[in-house]
């Protein structure tokens, strides 16, 4: 009784989150004591347009409310609530005894509530009352992620620069002092020029004060040199550090992302983001940002001393300045789009490489070299076109900015000549000269800065491409309150597991309990969902519906890394990393002793053939282990799985790529591996599943049969049929 009240309470609570305008119409029609058991939103109407309909299941009726139209069906008249989905759109059908009563569409986001509604309906029909809430509500809470700040990518680099804030501050101080020194050098022009002019005019007889000015000039220049050097060195070091940190962080983040992310990504593009984009960023940070900060400080100092000297003239000098800034700002946007296209084209080109180099055997086997050359050329051409577009933009803006800069100095000449011509008091030839130098410095620096618009935009695009990786939250999140585990016992339970790949539903309502140490054979046609099931057990993906439990606890409650330590996997085509055989065997446990490595290799029947190699366990194997045969590679991967001593073992068609003699050897190796572990083995050849305690057959994502080999043969269903087919094949081609 108590539990029932809880359930109702829970639903009234979530029920109150429904928009009142929708809710009130249904509530008005509820009879006394009729409570809401489940509800869902259908967000797409019968004509497949976006429109919200509220569907409600109570103890007596099903209601639908669209706007203020409410329809209802008595529970007795309904036979079934059926959900199906296709192309990302789900449909809930209300089936009566002799016809369909109604149907509603919904987007996947509403999927879970549709399933809950279906389940509740089944319960009602079966006369069950729910004592527990639905599994969906028990999903372990995932670690929270901050939503990425919505600011410009370049500014977000600050979080990486922050640890070096002290050095950056020092660099700024140095830069500032250097700027003042540079201005002081220029300022000496005024007294010097005036001194020379007076000497020429005969008003003074000695040039000795010049020594004083010249000394100041020289010292200031030297100070400027030393400071700029120190500042440059510091900032260059900082920027190298910042980009290296960024690269590390991005790569570490990438490693933690789920397989689903990699499934939808092109390897080459990812590589280009981490390598060339971060390199571009580093160049910007070390070269441009040093200049940029130094120059912008200098601009202020120069402008300040211009105003100090002569406000009127300073205003005239800075006349073209707003135009230049506007032009820089305007070109910036245009450039950014261009650079984006350029980076994307570059990523695409690397993708072509990353695609064809590993696939070179296929390319050659089908004699498609010419086509691949063409494909690369096209990608390369796109890079050229994209870059050309930027270049032509830039070549247009750049001379224009240069022109405006020279105009600035020109304006000073014109105004200065006019001032001297009108014999303005206090305005000497020296003042004009100093002004000219300062304004030339000002516009010279501005010109340098405008050149940086280019570099900064390029860097902004690169930063954005890197942050796109960093902003991606893993689909296999770490739990907020992890359950710590060292060694699992190895029981596995699937509870109403569902999984969708893209918009295809590959696993549907899959339930099964596997005891610790039991070996389960997994049989089914290609595409039946076998590999998906295994990916779910490995937590390469997370279930979309239901839950997988290991030792009675949802696997999403364990730390991903700790959980995976308990899972060993042997794949059909094992991947060997570049390195020695010993390194490859100890990949999952780098701290393993030599003895352990050898024992694992012996158990995997790999020891003898390894000793045949010239360098024994120190033999190098290539990127894809090309120097070893398929069977040899397989035995190494079995040794690798043995070494981590997993409680749960997965064999994904571990022997299907091998000839029968090799297969026999591998079978022996596998027997050692399987002993005492919970094992799920996928196999095409049923003969390899002789030792399995139970064999399950799945078809189109559903479990259709389960039992021992003999039981299944007696059942004479899908398994028996497969068995017969294979025996005939064996007779025909003599396997």
């Amino acid at each position: 009784m108590n539990a029932t009240t809880d359930t109702v309470a829970l639903h009234t609570e979530s029920w109150s989150s429904v928009e009142t305008s929708l809710r009130s119409h249904v509530e008005a029609q509820l009879a006394v004591g009729e409570s809401v058991l489940a509800w869902m939103i259908s967000d797409v109407d019968e004509q497949r347009r976006y429109r919200t309909t509220l569907l409600v299941l109570t103890g007596r009726h099903v209601f639908s409310a669209t706007g203020d139209t409410v329809r209802h069906w008595a529970l007795e008249s309904i036979d079934k609530l059926r959900t199906k989905d296709r192309g990302g759109l789900g449909t809930l059908e209300l089936l009566g005894t002799d016809r369909r009563l109604g149907f509603w569409h919904y987007t996947i986001a509403q999927g879970p509530s549709a399933l809950v509604m279906g389940d509740r309906f089944e319960d009602l029909k079966a006369g069950r009352t729910r004592t527990t809430t639905v599994e969906d509500e028990d999903i372990p809470e995932a670690e929270e992620h901050e939503t990425p700040p919505n600011t410009m990518a370049l500014f977000r680099l600050w979080q990486f620069a922050q640890p070096h804030a002290f050095w950056m501050f020092i660099a700024f101080v140095l830069s500032f002092t250097a700027s003042i020194a540079a201005v002081e050098t220029a300022k000496m022009t005024k007294p010097l020029t005036d001194l020379l002019k007076n000497y020429e005019a005969g008003t003074i007889s000695s040039l000795s004060p010049a020594i004083f000015y010249l000394t100041i000039m020289l010292v200031a220049a030297a100070v400027c040199w030393v400071l700029s050097w120190a500042q440059g060195a510091i900032l260059a070091w900082v920027s190298e550090r910042v980009t290296a940190d960024l690269r590390d962080r991005t790569y570490a983040h990438l490693q933690k992302l789920s397989l689903e992310y990699f499934g939808g990504k092109r390897t080459g593009d990812l590589m280009s983001r981490i390598s060339s984009d971060s390199d571009r960023l580093c160049q910007f940070l070390s070269d441009s940002i040093v200049d940029f900060t130094a120059n912008s400080i200098l601009l202020f100092v120069v402008a300040w001393s211009l105003f100090n000297d002569n406000v009127q003239l300073a205003l005239v000098t800075l006349l073209p300045f707003p135009f230049i800034v506007w032009l820089m700002y305007y070109s910036r946007d245009k450039l950014q789009v261009g650079f984006q296209a350029g980076s994307r084209a570059w990523g695409h080109m690397t993708s072509v490489l990353a695609d064809t180099i590993p696939g070179i055997r296929v390319v050659k086997a089908f004699a498609q070299e010419q086509r691949e050359i063409e494909r690369f050329r096209t990608a390369n051409e796109t890079v050229v076109v994209a870059n050309n577009r930027v270049n032509s933009l830039w070549t247009f803006f750049w001379p224009l900015i240069t022109f405006l800069n020279s105009l600035g100095v020109f304006v000073v000449w014109v105004y200065g000549i006019w001032l001297i011509g009108s014999r303005t008091p206090d305005f000497t030839f020296g003042s004009l000269n100093a002004f000219l130098l300062l304004s030339a410095m000002f516009y010279g620096k501005l010109e340098m800065m405008s050149r940086m618009v280019n570099a900064s935009q390029r860097a902004a695009v690169s930063a954005q491409r890197i942050f796109e990786i960093l902003d991606h939250v893993s689909n296999v999140p770490e739990p907020a309150r992890p359950v710590l585990v060292d060694k699992l016992k190895g029981t596995l339970e699937f509870r109403h597991v569902g999984f969708r790949y893209g918009n295809r539903k590959v696993i549907k309502d899959f339930s099964l309990k596997i005891e610790a140490g039991e070996m389960i054979g997994l049989v089914g046609h290609t595409g039946a969902g076998k590999s998906t099931l295994i990916n779910l057990v490995c937590r390469f993906f997370d279930v979309a519906e239901g839950a997988i439990l290991a030792d009675g606890i949802d696997i999403r409650s364990y730390k991903v890394e700790q959980y995976r330590r308990n899972v060993g996997i042997v794949l059909q085509d094992p991947f060997l990393f570049y390195g020695t055989i010993a390194e490859n065997i100890s990949y999952g446990r780098p701290d393993a002793t030599r003895e352990e490595v050898i024992n694992a290799a012996k158990a995997a029947r790999a020891h003898e053939f390894i000793l045949q190699l010239a360098d024994g366990y120190d033999s190098l194997v290539g990127e894809r282990g090309q120097s070893l045969s398929g069977g040899e590679r397989q035995r190494i991967s079995i040794a690798r799985a043995l070494l981590i001593d997993p409680r749960i073992l997965i064999l994904d068609e571990a022997t299907s790529a091998l000839d029968s003699t090799t297969e026999r050897q591998i079978q022996e190796a596998l027997q050692n591996l399987v002993r005492g572990r919970t094992t799920i083995a996928i196999a095409h050849r049923l003969s390899t599943l002789r030792q399995a305690n139970r064999i399950m057959v799945i078809e189109r994502g559903r479990l259709v049969e389960i039992g021992t080999h003999d039981e299944l043969l007696v059942m004479d269903g899908a398994y028996a049929e497969l068995h017969r087919a294979q025996q005939e094949l064996t007779k025909d081609i003599g396997w």
Partner: protein, 159 residues
Amino acid sequence: MVDANFADLSFRKNEWGQLVLVMLDGVEYPGIDPVRCFPLTDPEHVIALLDQEGKELINLPSLDVLKPESREFIQRELAERDFVPVIRKIITTSAPYPPCIWNVETDRGKTSFHLESEDDIRSLGKTGIVIADSNGIRYKVVDISALDASSRRIVRQLV
């Protein structure tokens, strides 16, 4: 596969809302699912008729081989099964680059979706794009240059 003269095929809808294929000899196949084989590159040709189990019964090279009533019927059914909203205008985006949320106006009304990555956008012919959202629902832009200026700008930054 069922052998039949394409022109003899007729269809009806039963009380369960299913599409029923009716053969010349009166044999009926309920729960038919018409599927375009090349929904993006050549939607009008090669259309498969699947039975309830997803097995192909008939493969039509094009709808023109059917008699006019049947053709209209299947056309209507296909239109009903398609759910690829055509984006008319991008109202807002939560950020200029993915991952971000797009608020869009489509031929099926307003909606919003989560765009995870640039890679979820693929080009469709010379002028169009197809966008897959985080739930696998696809959206189409038939001609980028026909969009309004601000929407076009958002798209051009990504393609």
